[in-house]
Symmetry: C2
Subunit: 369 residues, 2 copies
């Protein structure tokens, strides 16, 4: 999966050592990896620097922190910007950067750029993430304008050689079936317009634009396919499936909507009202609440849409539930397993230093797990 | 930990195969294990039955489902009750069993008890979980009265030999420091009073009472100890620590309050206002928002209270973050590691069938992970 993306020219946005290791293992290096982290542990800065990832500093205090860890600072560094206040769009969508833990104030970035140049840093980048999962063509150009104008001011004030702007993520997808999605070409044109309006007159046209469009690119192209294994008729109608919040936490954590199609019943009327539940001992473990769906029979497969981002990677092991495998459907129709299912042996691995592990192993061997 | 609880006379309430395996591995068996599950996968019923756990049926449809899996039903079975509607207490706390996916209606349990007796089941239990983390001495006796009266009716109507009532959980703990906790002796007396009022006149005194007091017994006796590694001064004051929602998800998932003490500064004035954050790329990864605490220096240890339940076990690997170890502080002051920290190797284990695993291994070996 990551190998495919790399081949298509993508890089990776990482925020932990395991993500950095994975990126390196699939062959990414240097500027193909951006390390955007906050409250960063020392060992993660160390390793990001070791493999030449572009480090995006979340805070001005991280300059000293990073320098102590790596000795000589890298030639290129990025700073993350937080404008504070509210970020408002004309469609009413807004986010609250002032309440967000990320990034630096403009004054801090100015100070950082001066200090970093004194410390030998030669090239700079800027990054900001101000709103999540926006479904409007307006957000990205607005964000771009803010960052481009900031870049012009910072360049004028500090002389810093700004080489790239990372517009980060926030370009969302329509989770609701009747919602109109983003028009990425229009978004691109909007960003280009801001670029030409702001950078061209400032003579700063040699600036690269990076994006983090993971959700936009992958979200709609992943699905959680799960089988109906129980039905229940009490004060509401329930369909129990063989997946649970372990496989997809967004509905439980954010009350997020994920569209559901009953496979083979795409054209049947949605005349039944169901709660679709997983098996966790948590009442929030419901993939859908009061959802109109066709009549579901035991054994039917439910296709839970748009789980290609913030899906599996947000999974947990609550109640000791194990992760399922991940499959890649290829353009030629073949299927490749890209992660095997977790076993009890994996789950118990961190007990391997304890006396009980011997007995766990004996049980697992008898059960052929 | 589980071994200690078993030695103290406790049993285990399980809802997955891994929990069953763990319980068996520490030496629990038969009636020491209650298997309370919902939307249960076939293999979990199979294994619960194999090790003789008491199975608590979540739904009337599970009778057929279980019978198909195990052949002959066990001699003892429990049924989970859901009264529907709202459960109200005089202090305004209420929960909404009518919206909860668990349990059966009274009519269904009546039908189930009749059917199960025909199928050879000899002894019965009842279980209901109607409200979570109640901090009032009133809840448990109210719940007990409901279940005891239900047991009397069911016994009269179906002749079922009811051997136990499992009052489940819901007896909470005071997460807020100024909150008065439950008085467990008073709760016990309240349950006894209901028992004597309801079971004694009905001649049903030979009924065991089970409880699931995991949160009450363990919650206050676990803590997440974490070090302040970053401070940040933007539109708010932030303290970044070396733990994150991976170690404790309740604040991120439920906005739950966990009290925080800065170690060694217990008596200093709480005159600073902080957000205490972890390092996930999620703005909800905050252990505290606008919390008054003493001035925190880098290197200070923060003691996050009441994480002994729904803490580590609810952890996830979001952003590829790894789990920390768990330590047991013993009465003699010694410390025992009861789970080792997760490594990148553990995290990548489910890639072991892929070509990239070789490269992951090479990197991990070079990094001495």
């Amino acid at each position: 999966m990551m190998e495919l993306l790399l081949k298509e020219g993508c890089g990776f946005d990482c925020s932990s050592n395991t993500e950095l290791i994975l990126s390196k293992a699939v062959g990414a290096c240097g500027s193909k990896i951006m390390f955007s982290s906050n409250d960063t542990p020392a060992e993660e800065y160390y390793y990001a620097n070791e493999i030449g990832a572009i480090i995006n500093l979340d805070d001005i205090t991280h300059i000293d922190f990073l320098e102590k860890i790596v000795g000589k600072l890298p030639e290129t560094l990025s700073c993350r910007f937080n404008p504070g206040g509210l970020f408002k769009m004309s469609n009413g969508i807004m986010d609250n950067p002032g309440d967000s833990k990320y990034g630096m104030t403009e004054e801090q970035i100015r100070e950082a750029f001066i200090l970093l140049q004194e410390k030998g840093v030669k090239h700079f980048g800027l990054h900001a993430f101000l709103a999540s999962n926006t479904v409007t063509n307006e957000y990205y150009p607005m964000l771009a304008a803010q960052l481009f104008e900031l870049a012009v001011r910072l360049h004028k004030e500090t002389g810093a050689d700004i080489r790239f702007i990372n517009l980060s993520g926030g370009v969302g997808i329509p989770y609701q079936p009747d919602q109109e999605g983003n028009d990425i070409a229009q978004i691109g044109a909007g960003v280009r317009e801001k670029f030409e309006q702001i950078f061209t007159p400032a003579g700063m046209e040699d600036i690269a634009i990076y994006t983090e469009l993971g959700r936009f690119m992958l979200g709609p192209y992943g699905a959680l396919v799960t089988k109906a294994i129980h039905e229940k008729h009490i004060y509401k109608e329930y369909i129990g499936v063989d997946a649970c919040a372990v496989n997809l936490m967004r509905p439980a954590m954010y009350g997020a909507y994920h569209h559901i199609t009953v496979m083979g019943k795409e054209n049947e009327p949605c005349d039944h009202l169901y709660d679709v539940t997983g098996s966790l001992c948590e009442n929030n473990d419901k993939f859908a609440i009061d959802r109109k769906l066709p009549k579901i029979e035991m054994g039917d497969y439910l296709f839970i849409h748009d789980t290609g981002a913030h899906g599996f990677s947000m999974g947990y092991n609550y109640n000791g539930k194990l992760w399922s495998s991940e499959l890649l459907l290829k353009t030629d129709g073949s299927v490749e397993m890209i992660r095997r299912a977790e076993t009890a042996r994996d789950y118990f691995a961190t007990f391997d230093c304890l006396p009980v592990y011997k007995e766990l192993n004996r049980i697992m061997e008898n059960k052929k797990i």
